[in-house]
């Protein structure tokens, strides 16, 4: 089994299309889930999964089979998603999507009204994409800082810094709107 996987990875690295198809079917769900966590948009997550594998296919020669496929794919997926976030017009386009996405959590705090939740989500959407991705993964999705660092290709210290800056900017934005967390 281990040899089979290793063979597929080696064949993919050499540009074998069948090996790529095998890897696509094995990892598309994981890539989709990862992207969905960041975008919270199923249609965009599907498109970005395809974009990710397109990029993966194009750089197959750079793949190191010894380091495994999943982490490498996740890193490329994160980069593709970051590019997508940067290309969006953020607030105006995101606000309608986020209206749908701002669902009442299972254990909702009664002190936090729907309006505050919406304003918070919209303020979050206004953050710079690279800060937003770090905060989404580390704070909302509660991924380990090491995993976030690997996905973003930065150090754990840089992840902490980005999350700190994201939260600080979010607080400033909310305070301007009269919301004191």
């Amino acid at each position: 089994m281990q040899n089979d996987e290793s063979d597929v990875l080696n064949q993919f690295q050499q540009g074998d299309a069948a090996a790529f198809e095998t890897l696509f079917h094995q990892h598309q769900r994981a890539v989709y889930c990862w992207v969905l966590r960041i975008t919270r948009n199923p249609a965009a997550a599907e498109d970005l999964t395809i974009e990710t594998f397109w990029r993966i296919f194009n750089v197959h020669a750079r793949f190191d089979p010894a380091r495994g496929f999943e982490g490498w794919a996740r890193r490329i997926a994160t980069r593709a998603t970051l590019d997508w976030l940067r290309s969006k017009k953020t607030e105006n386009e995101l606000s309608t999507e986020m209206l749908d996405e701002v669902a009442v959590p299972v254990e909702a705090d009664p002190a936090v009204t729907a309006e505050i939740r919406l304003k918070t989500a919209m303020a979050f959407a206004r953050l710079p994409p690279k800060l937003r991705i770090a905060a989404t993964l580390a704070v909302i999705e509660e991924q380990s800082q090491k995993d976030v660092a690997n996905a973003l290709g930065i150090s754990v210290a840089a992840v902490k810094l980005r999350v700190f800056r994201a939260l600080r900017l979010l607080r400033k934005d909310l305070e301007k709107q009269g919301i004191t967390p």
Partner: protein
Amino acid sequence: MNKDDQDRIKKLLQQAMPPVKGESEPRRDLWPAMLRRLNARPAAPAQIGWAWFDGALAFGLLGLAAFFPASIPLLLYYL
């Protein structure tokens, strides 16, 4: 911003944007779309494109860091 402030903002953010839990699946099989994408245009050779201003920017930043080491934390902050 102290730790309590951070914790309050984190809680508010988690209330506003609940995590995407569970294992989600794409709503459709993505392989046909992947095939269309692959067939649409040949794969570009893997290479990194450097415009002249990329090099100039990198050179400028290296120079700044070399001559003004105090600027390194500021550069790292904006990375």
